[in-house]
Structures are given as C-alpha cells and as structure tokens.
Symmetry: C2
Subunit: 291 residues, 2 copies
C-alpha cells in the first residue's frame, strides 16, 4: 500500500518503477499522430489533445512513476481545453499508476492562492502542483498538505531567467539560492518518513554548478527537473540534482517521449512506450554508474 | 476614437473617466447578494459568480475606466468556472466601457507562455494580463503586443513577499528594484504616444518608500496598484505610485466596491455603483490635492 504523505508516496513509486523519471505531457495539435490531428477550432483541438494525452498515459503506465501535465497546452483552447484537462487528470489518477503533477505555475496570494489550490484539489485532480515563489510563502503554502505536494519555481533553464535568478545578493547568495533557502525553511514542516518534504523545487537541468549548490541548500527537497531530452539536457547534467544516495530528483522528459514517432510509424503508442522505457533505462544507468 | 496601442488606450479611458481607478472582480459565493447565493456544486457556483460579475460590470460601466478580473475565483470551480470567466470577459469587452485586465499571473516560458498568451487573446478576451517576472523576459514578452498589454509582478504587498522582493543585492538594489529595471528595459520597445509602455508593473500599495523608488526606476511603466480599500491602503499610500504629472498608476479596489452592500440593501447594484463613484472621487481628490 502506498503512503499517504505525498513525498513518501512519490519515493515509493520511484522505487517500484526503478528510476526517478517523469513523462511531461505538453501536447500541441501540430505534432500529433495523423489519425488524431484535429479540424479547426478550440473544441476539436481540445478533443484531440485529450485523446492524445490519454493515449500517452495508457502507453507509459507501468513504466514511469510520475506524469506532469502542462496546463498551458489545454488552457490555450479555453473552457473546452480546461474540461479536457480535468478529464486527462482524472484519467491519470484513475490509472493508479502515477503521481500526477499539474504544471500550472500559479503565483498569487491570500484567498486567490487558496482558490487555485482548491482547483487543483477538486476539479483538476492532481497530487502535486507547480507554483511560483516570488510572492514568498503566502503563495506556496496553500498548495501543500499532508497528501498534496508542490514544486516551487527556484531555478529555470531558460536564457532570460538568469537576469533575475542569478543576481548576486549582498550576502553572497544568488537570488535562486535565497529562494531555495526560503523553500527549504517552508518545507521543514512537511518532511515525511522518507526524509523528503511535500514542498519540492523546480530546478532546471542545464547548469550543473547551480544545481549542485541548490542541492546542498535543500537536502529535504525533491527536485523536479525539466528539460531532459529534447530541451538539450543529458544524464550528466541531471546528476547534480540528486543527493549522494541517488535520491532527491525527478527527471522529466516531454517532447522526446510523447513525440517519439515518425510519419511512417503505424503504432505511435508503442513508440511512446519504448521512448519511456529508454528514458527509464538511461536515467537508471546514469545513476548506477555514479553509485 | 480610442487608440489601438494598449497603454495609450488605457490613458485615454482614464482621462475620459476622470480618475485612474479600476474595479477588481474577485467574486466568492459566500459574499454574494442573497438573491444570487448558489446551491452546492461547481456548476451552480460558477453560474452565480457569472451573474454577480456581470451585474457588477453593468453597475460600474461609465464610472471606472478599467476592470480587473481575478481568474482564481473562476478557476476554483473548474471547467464550469472557466466557461463563466470567458463569458464575463466577453461581457466586459462587449460593454466597450473598460480596459479589461485578466489577473491570472501566469509565469511560464517558451511555448507554454505562448499558449497562455493565446488563451488571453482568444478564449479569454482581455486587453491586459498580469504575469510573473521571475523567469525573465521569456515569461513576459509573449503577453505584450501593440494592442495588448501586461503588468509584470514587481512588488507585492503581502507580508511574506518581502522575503524575496526586499532582499538586497550586492549592487545595492533590492530584488524588486532589479526586476523593475528588467521590466523597464523590456518595455522600452512598446512605448506609445502617451509616453507609457504596453508593459506595466504590479506594485502593491502598502510601502510608500518602495513605491517611490520603483516609480523613479520605471518612468514609462503604468503601475497596477491593488490593495486599495479593503486591503488597508488609502489615498496617501498610492500617491507615490504616480508620476509628478499625476499619471502612471491605476488604483484597484475590489472588495470595498463589489461587496458594498449589506443584508438590508434591496438594490445591491446601486450600492456597488455608488462605491465605484466614491472610489473615483476619492482618488481624483487625492491626486488633485497633491497637484
């Protein structure tokens, strides 16, 4: 039986799966298999995105311990897209095979933060969310409970993120390190039996030295590490996100898995499944080689 | 005829209205007039929130130049709530009386930012959005166009925001000031005939010295100033958000206007209208007294 504590539960699933990997669902109509490519209009696009997403979920079930669903891909299609998002999250949850991360990066305070948290705990069922940390703990804590976790945005890998996150403080820390310290402190109240907190951190995979420094400052935080595969990061780049014991990060690949088929591939689901198996094997091997 | 440039258009509406004020729509079922209070369930709540919001919009039309709609209040009711949000935004836009600000504080990068921007330019029609700046310009610029503006989160008034935004950099600036400089630079490309950029800034109303420092660093930015009225700020607190010429800020009041009725008030719309008139008069008087 799985633990109810969110981080313990994720760690348990990672152990069963054999590797700390996550498939990111960022579906866009233009890249779908030909059989699913929609007619014009938001309703048709939302239906296609939903069918594709559920197909990917079915294909990777039993292989990866977690999936991350990008809200933006659904929200761009308006209310139809959000209805599709709700059904995709429910499908993922009903499968029972994954931790489900709703990647919606909300960042508000007070009752607005509570509203967003309520949306993710009701209509959009997800065990985990991603949230902004710029507003401090007021914007983060509503998303964390005993059985619900959140990953706060600490360090992103996009070029212009440096303009804020790499700024040097008078005390020697970078802004990202200061935000990491804030997250570590805020997460101390929800550390589970695994030693990890229900408050984790988003840490991009492209800067090894940055990742190592953040790892040292946030020993109880799980790192959600996007950017593996198509976004240019490789296994060596993500290793600094892990603790010495090989735990502490969840490596996410999106496009390299969900679009792992070509125009000539008849069974796109089988291609996606193989790509998820490759992802799992690649990260497991990288962690094994280091140990 | 109104200018097409977003900031010029907002300035033009402010001039017509006689004061730089905005009504914030943050509707929650519990505080609605008795006649609208919904039965249980998200569908009923979304319908009530929609009816109340459209009633407020009708009540304040012709009084205030702008309205700000809080996405969280709708999203908490799931797909039904987002469908209601789309209709409320369309209602506000169709009235032709307001600049419409979608307060959704999105903060993502790359194609995800483009998806969110597309949602606000199509299914959720709004001339302005609010966005996070923590990810740098990658997370901001997709929301800005010739006829579309965005307010980037620079300084918030919540207590825990200080833990990030007030940190002191090695070069002497605060984090919020550095983010303000980034916003000023990013907005330089979209300055209109009014002298203001389509990229503005959210600057909370509770810290006068902070607001004055940010005003000096961002001469071409319109400040969206929440927290007036119910959240504790008064006219004196918002004056530092304005330039010497009395322009440059949009003062937003939410609860003090939209809930300006009591259990004994038969015509809640009339109460809301009077509260909007009071808001306009109060801010106009404050600016007049300073000039």
């Amino acid at each position: 039986m799985l633990p109810s504590h969110a981080a313990d539960r994720l760690l348990s699933r990672i152990e069963s799966a054999g590797a700390p990997v996550c498939v990111g669902l960022d579906p866009v109509a233009e890249r779908m298999p030909a059989e699913l490519r929609p007619a014009a209009g938001d309703a048709a696009a939302a239906a296609a995105v939903e069918a594709f997403s559920c197909g990917v979920l079915d294909a990777v079930a039993g292989i990866v311990p977690a999936v991350k669903v990008q809200a933006a891909c659904f929200e761009r299609h308006g209310p139809d897209g959000v209805a599709a998002l709700a059904r995709v999250l429910a499908h993922a949850r009903a499968a029972g095979a994954f931790e489900v991360i709703l990647d919606f990066k909300r960042g508000d305070i007070g009752i607005s933060a509570e509203h967003y948290a309520a949306s993710a705990h009701g209509p959009l069922p997800a065990g985990w969310t991603t949230v902004s940390a710029y507003l401090g703990t007021d914007g983060i804590l509503p998303f964390v409970a005993d059985d619900r976790g959140a990953f706060a945005l600490v360090r992103t890998s996009n070029p212009s993120g440096d303009a804020v996150q790499s700024l040097r403080l008078a005390d020697g820390r970078t802004v990202a390190e200061a935000v990491g310290d804030l997250v570590a402190a805020a997460g101390a109240a929800t550390v589970g039996a695994s030693g990890f907190s229900n408050l984790g951190a988003v840490v991009g995979a492209t800067k090894r030295a940055d990742a190592a420094a953040l790892r040292a400052r946030m020993p109880a935080q799980l790192f959600l590490v996007p950017g593996f595969g198509a976004q240019g990061g490789g296994v060596d780049d993500v290793l600094p996100c892990f603790r010495g014991d090989g735990r502490g990060a969840l490596v996410t690949a999106s496009r390299s898995v969900i679009y792992a088929f070509g125009p000539g591939d008849r069974d796109w689901r089988a291609c996606v499944r193989r790509a998820a198996e490759d992802l799992r094997a690649q990260v497991a091997a990288g962690l094994g080689a280091r140990a």
